[in-house]
């Protein structure tokens, strides 16, 4: 009986905390020049805050207290307090920053500058540029490996992945991939790098040791033409069980068995699905749908789309606290 009471107490506490900790989802609105804030559990838009021009890439700082947003047309990375939603600073990013990634310890920010064919390395503490690395034409996706060893960058026109050593900040290896590589993402164990090729319609899985492809996945959806299938954003869960790839104008998110590297399902979401982000407990996945102006919420336990929430014009990037 005592044990039952304890269990009940624990359950009540758990339900209290699990319901009181709602996901706060931050979405950059490229056309509205704003940040949309959504309650992920309730699936409701809470607030919209004005930002710089053409905000795209977005990330939370390592401690979750700050948000970094690439205001592409203002040529800066804006720093936003993730509680008050007020702009508290700026980082020098170089021209037209689009996507970026933080080093695992949060002290460095790596930005791709699409127009200048550069990757800019910024010290987030001193707020200074550490180095500008010349890369291929139109750098796009950027990712740091969780073990802190690599920064990789994809260049859209050169169709290449550049492997940058984080100590020397030099390119040490290049891998040729399919046409127009967009997003890059490491698995949690840093052993694999997933790369999406937008025009090639392919997901390449590269071995981080050899920097070579171990598998290529091509997407096929009944009733959707191959041209419409343009893989972009990637999310891979912490356990390495499931991976997800946003398929752009195909309006689908592909569910991939990350162990077998096989596509298991396609989930219908809004139009031109672009970027993806997990909730902190990874039970939900949020997608930005650029043309239908909404965010779809996916239950990652049963792979069902729960809801789509209208957020504003051209939702682009997403981060969840």
């Amino acid at each position: 009986m005592k044990q039952a009471k304890k269990l009940l107490g624990a359950f009540v506490l758990y339900s209290f905390f699990s319901t009181s900790w709602a996901d706060t989802v931050f979405i950059t609105l490229e056309k509205d020049n704003a940040l949309a804030i959504v309650d992920g559990k309730a699936g409701k838009l809470i607030k919209t805050v004005k930002l710089g021009q053409r905000p795209r890439g977005i990330m939370l700082s390592a401690d979750g207290s700050k948000l970094y947003v690439a205001a592409s047309d203002d040529d800066t990375i804006q720093v936003i307090d993730s509680n008050s939603y007020s702009i508290v600073g700026e980082l020098p990013s170089g021209e037209d920053p689009e996507t970026f990634d933080l080093s695992p310890d949060g002290t460095r920010l790596y930005v791709s500058n699409e127009d200048d064919d550069l990757v800019t390395v910024i010290d987030t503490v001193n707020q200074k540029v550490v180095k500008e690395i010349a890369v291929g034409v139109e750098p796009e996706g950027i990712a740091t490996s969780p073990d802190g060893k690599w920064v990789v960058n994809s260049s859209e026109t050169t169709n290449m992945i550049h492997w940058i050593d984080t100590e020397s900040l030099d390119i040490v290896e290049n891998t040729l991939v399919d046409q127009r590589p967009r997003a890059v993402k490491f698995t949690a164990d840093s052993k694999q790098l997933w790369v999406t090729s937008e025009v090639g319609g392919v997901l390449s899985v590269l071995d981080a040791k050899t920097q070579q492809a171990v598998k290529k996945l091509t997407f096929k959806i009944r009733g959707v033409t191959a041209e419409q299938i343009q893989p972009v954003g990637i999310a891979i869960d912490q356990a390495g069980r499931w991976g997800y790839v946003a398929l752009g104008p195909a309006n689908r998110v592909a569910v991939i068995d990350a162990k077998k590297l096989e596509i298991v399902d396609y989930l219908l979401v809004g139009q031109r699905v672009w970027n993806l982000a997990f909730s902190p407990d990874q039970s939900r996945l949020y997608t930005t749908n650029g043309v239908s102006n909404d965010v779809s919420i996916i239950n990652t336990e049963n792979h069902k789309v729960l809801k789509s929430v209208a957020v504003g014009r051209y939702p682009w990037g997403v981060a969840v606290k």
């Binding site: 009733g223 219908l268 139009q271 779809s296």
Partner: protein, 267 residues
Amino acid sequence: MKAAHYLRAMQGIIARELWRFLRQRERFIAALVRPLVWLFIFAAGFRAALGIAIIPPYETYIMYEVYITPGLIGMIQLFNGMQSSLSMVYDREMGSMRTLLVSPLPRWFLLTSKLLAGTAVSILQVYTFLLIAWFYDVEAPLAGYLTLLPALILSGLMLGALGMLLSSVIKQLENFAGVMNFVIFPMFFMSTALYPLWKIEESSELLFNLAQYNPFSQAVEFARFALYQQFNGEACLYTAAALVIFLSLAILGYNPSKGMMKRKGGG
């Protein structure tokens, strides 16, 4: 007359109808094949037709198969209602209707029992259809299948009452083809079963109004919301009102002294 008499009569009528339905295996299969053909073949061609808008009770983008499933539930009940009316014409021609109507129980009670019997049959068909659709990835929340039941009872009764009303004015079995052309098809196609109202509005204002006030649309919408554990009060009220009107007219139609049977020379 004691309540027990009423109950026994109702039981007899419902059991007879269910028994008849289960024994006619072809009818059971035919009743299932019709909506399944629509689901597997017709809907397959329009998979992405609705991929651009979210309409209540849905909270995200859905495939066309998911959209038309409540419409096909309505189709099952509509055909079943008409089939019951057909069987009533047949019963009348064969004389078994006379046996039923000479019972000492009030006529309205007998007719309502007959309606309930037809509805029970349609519900059996609907759940079998939903089970097959479930394997085809048309899934509603589990509790939705339960909340659907009251909606099915009401819509089944309403469509059955419409069938009964028609059977009171149809003289011969052969006239059933007319029912197909002038009742089933217009009711089904001029409704929200296959396309949402906003789609119909895009093409024609007149069609939009006709579809909106079509009792079949309201029954379909009531079931659509119920399947997703939501209550559509307006559709419920509209369906209930249609039931009262159709049933009253049907009872009147089956009254030998006042109804249409007298005018036609009886059953």
